[in-house]
Symmetry: C2
Subunit: 352 residues, 2 copies
């Protein structure tokens, strides 16, 4: 029996508290792990994790929210094993996430992230490639020395997450080459499969590994994996919405950056698949090539008019509902489950 | 008791036969592993492994000699477990080696390898980063699904190899920034530590993992790891010599490419550390910046005159002797041991 969720007004402060509590637990372990790197690599890794500014004194900014490691810890608490046992899952997840951001920024030629130059922009492409590799290796090591009772199973979960991550990135790169219209256009179901891999696999891996290390059996671990994947899909859809309509001061990226670069995000793909006059005008705008500030604003307005924003947000909420349903039969610790759902609701409602 | 080595004249044909036999065993497993990648990534991975030309029909060229996987198989045979059991070690080693070549070529901005454009040059930096990552992930998966009795120990070996690889690469990048002379110059012992990591760790990991998967106990596994590290050092020293004095038609790289780019290789580092008139002239040449064809030839001649070539080759032979001594007390299958030493001798004598 799953206990009831908290009311809406309770969610945001609770989610922020949860994220803060989890960051405080993970941070010392993350620092200890990073200390094992070669000093030259460590410098970049620490910058990427937002623990220090490049060549400057440590600063508070730059770090992510720590969503994935928090989910790993909460999954460990929810199955009754406690956050301590799930810590290696949280650390490995954060390392893998940071690795994927560093390499992804090279793939996408992104120059800004979290209001700072990306790693390759700040330190050069070669050192950035190497820093990503080192974080990847450190994540594998973290799992393999976690003392998990079933080492092979822990690694299968890690490998499944990695496999999804890589497939999703390869698919995402291929999407960029495909047209906006016609038989070769990207379909919403293809988008869902890509994001289920690219973002969902790591969310699923984080919670499944957190549950496993905290002592959960195969059933709950598999349920957490599937639910995490759905939550990852919901999270990415919301990120897509923020990437188009979000406040650049909060997203840390230029206005409408995903639209300018012609990324195949759900709002666009869903609207173009449905067709109609606004969709045709939108496709015409996008086909004209890279957009400037005014073009990105026009495209965003057109996309909103065609229902892209509300369609995407509805899909995000649907994915979250699926995640909850997947876990409905798993017996969980009520307090931890409340924290987990408050955080998940917050993640999906943040683009409101 | 270790049986006697074959005579010099028997080594080369025997080594070539061994490499061919091992490639034939590894290749189908490698192809099966690569088939699990996303098609876009698989295309680059297959090119990097030399299994197919980019956009052309499969070609024979481009593949490496398969030294590392052969050593993994021979270690498995030498401890009496057979090549079959050691196959996952061989496949994982080849995947990791190929991953490191792809990313290393990005780090070093190398445009040619094995007579073909490097992966980033042929397909772009972003796709090359991703292909390397996918091979890395596939290597981890290969070890984690190898069915090793001691999964945690197999992963510790893999992680140690990865850790060495990353540290060595970071150190190598740092060496490039250091001067040729003075208190900050790279010392021969620093070079040895770097190469022991960068090349030795993967050689050591390959044979240790091969022995472990073939059923060897902790003592022989550790001995193989240490011996492999020494063999890797010897191999890299010979590679350094070939990178300076080797025939470009055989190395697949431009004449004296390491000298042109000012890489801190053992022949140079050893000669500069010993000092003398030729060393001072050499340092002057190198400090003048990137060398042209004539400059590279002059530097190579000066370096040979100063004894750089013979010093380096003697160090290589010393490392090989150390490798053999490390294994002297380990009981091994005579036939496999003969093959292993014939291959190791060949690898170290190839710059003769």
């Amino acid at each position: 029996m799953t206990p009831a969720s908290p009311t809406l007004s309770e969610r945001t402060p609770s989610a922020r508290r949860t994220l803060g509590r989890c960051r405080a637990l993970v941070r010392p372990c993350l620092v200890t792990a990073l200390d094992r790197l070669h000093p030259a690599t460590r410098r970049l890794a620490v910058y990427a994790c937002g623990l220090e500014e490049a060549g400057r004194a440590p600063a508070g900014g730059g770090g992510g929210k720590g969503v994935r490691p928090a989910l790993a810890l909460l999954a460990g608490e929810a199955v009754g094993g406690g956050a301590e046992a799930a810590l290696p899952a949280a650390v490995a997840t954060e390392l893998l996430h940071t690795f994927s951001l560093i390499h992804d920024d090279i793939l996408d030629e992104d120059e800004w992230r979290r209001h700072r130059p990306t790693v390759w922009k700040a330190f050069g492409t070669g050192p950035a490639v190497l820093a990503g590799d080192a974080l990847f290796a450190l994540a594998v090591e973290t799992v393999s020395t976690s003392g998990a009772g079933d080492c092979a199973q822990a690694l299968r979960l890690l490998c499944a997450a990695l496999d999804g991550l890589m497939r999703g990135q390869a698919q995402d790169l291929q999407f960029e080459q495909r047209p906006w219209r016609g038989g070769d256009a990207v379909l919403p179901e293809e988008y869902r499969a890509m994001v289920g891999d690219k973002t969902g696999a790591l969310f699923g891996g984080a919670v499944a590994l957190g549950a496993l290390l905290a002592g959960a059996g195969p059933g709950p671990v598999a349920a957490f994996g599937a639910a995490g994947r759905q939550l990852g899909l919901a999270f990415q859809i919301v990120d897509d919405v923020l990437g188009i309509w979000g406040d650049p001061r909060r997203t840390g990226k230029p206005v409408g950056s995903d639209l300018r670069r012609g990324k195949k995000t759900l709002p666009v793909v869903a609207v173009l698949a449905e067709g109609g006059a606004a969709a045709r005008r939108l496709a015409g705008l996008l086909e004209a090539g890279e957009l400037d500030d005014a073009g990105a604003r026009a495209a965003a307005a057109l996309l909103e008019e065609a229902g892209g924003r509300s369609l995407a947000l509805a899909e995000g909420r649907l994915a979250l509902t699926r995640a909850y349903r997947t876990l409905a039969e798993v017996p969980l610790v009520p307090r931890a489950w409340r924290e987990l759902t408050a955080l998940a609701d917050f993640l999906v409602e943040r683009a409101g």
